[in-house]
Amino acid sequence: MTSVAKGELPLRSEHDIVLARQQVRRLTQELKFSLVDQTKMVTAASELARNAMTYGGGGAMHWDVLDVQQRTGLKLLFADEGPGIANMDLAMTDGWTSGKGLGMGLTGAKRLVNDFEIDSKVNGGTRVTITRWK
């Protein structure tokens, strides 16, 4: 099942977050990412999946294995139909040294991946796309 280059799974319950983590772990292992890169991607996925659940009222994680000009990558999209982010600037500020809490975990996740895109509309849901290249 993991050799499918494209897929999705729902994020409707807490257990789904665990399933999402396991799926990302399987995918990054199959793609032979280094252990550190695997861990970074799995952790980013955990943060974003939880966001979709907690703030977005549930959604889905879509994955896509990329093969562009000899480079292999894994792209993940976390989409929800929730209330969206009203103040994007605020959501994306977070100093590196603040260890207390990460608010929405967005800035942290951003640092763990190579490409990060976010698209959110008030009452129109949120879509976060992250990509990690080998």
Binding site: H15, I17, V18, T39, G101, G108, R111
Partner: protein, 127 residues
């Protein structure tokens, strides 16, 4: 519902986290630990995460909270066995868990706790 077992070793409690926890399970652990510390008057808690291949902000916060709660209840907490990949990722994520003591493994962790308790210490040794 599954729960994470808490082992009592004299004055200490040992928790070995070996599974991929969902959020509720983590919160339950926090609850169970708080109750167990009080029940036995434990002086120290070792959280062994040497089997954990991922620690995200939720689990990180849980550990920090357990440490804080434990202190209030009279027990020192020490986090042991974090894997290198996990440490690198946590740091990149922005979490440094400043109030949580750490050790390389359970043995070292116990030695540190023992020293701390023998010294009657109120010093903060989360260097």
């Amino acid at each position: 519902m599954e729960k994470i077992p808490i082992l009592r070793m004299g004055e200490f409690l040992l928790v070995t986290i070996q599974i991929d926890m969902h959020d509720q399970l983590a919160l339950k652990l926090q609850d169970d630990l708080s109750n167990t510390i009080t029940k036995f008057g434990s002086k120290g808690v070792l959280i062994d995460i040497s089997s954990l291949e991922m620690v995200d902000s939720f689990i990180g916060r849980m550990v920090a909270d357990i440490s804080g709660i434990g202190k209030i209840l009279g027990a020192e907490t020490i986090l042991v066995g974090m894997q290198p990949a996990v440490a690198i990722t946590l740091v990149e994520l922005g979490l440094s868990l400043p109030g949580v003591a750490t050790a390389l493994n359970v043995e070292r962790g116990m030695a540190i706790l023992r020293r701390k308790i023998d010294a009657d210490g109120f010093d903060d040794f989360s260097r």
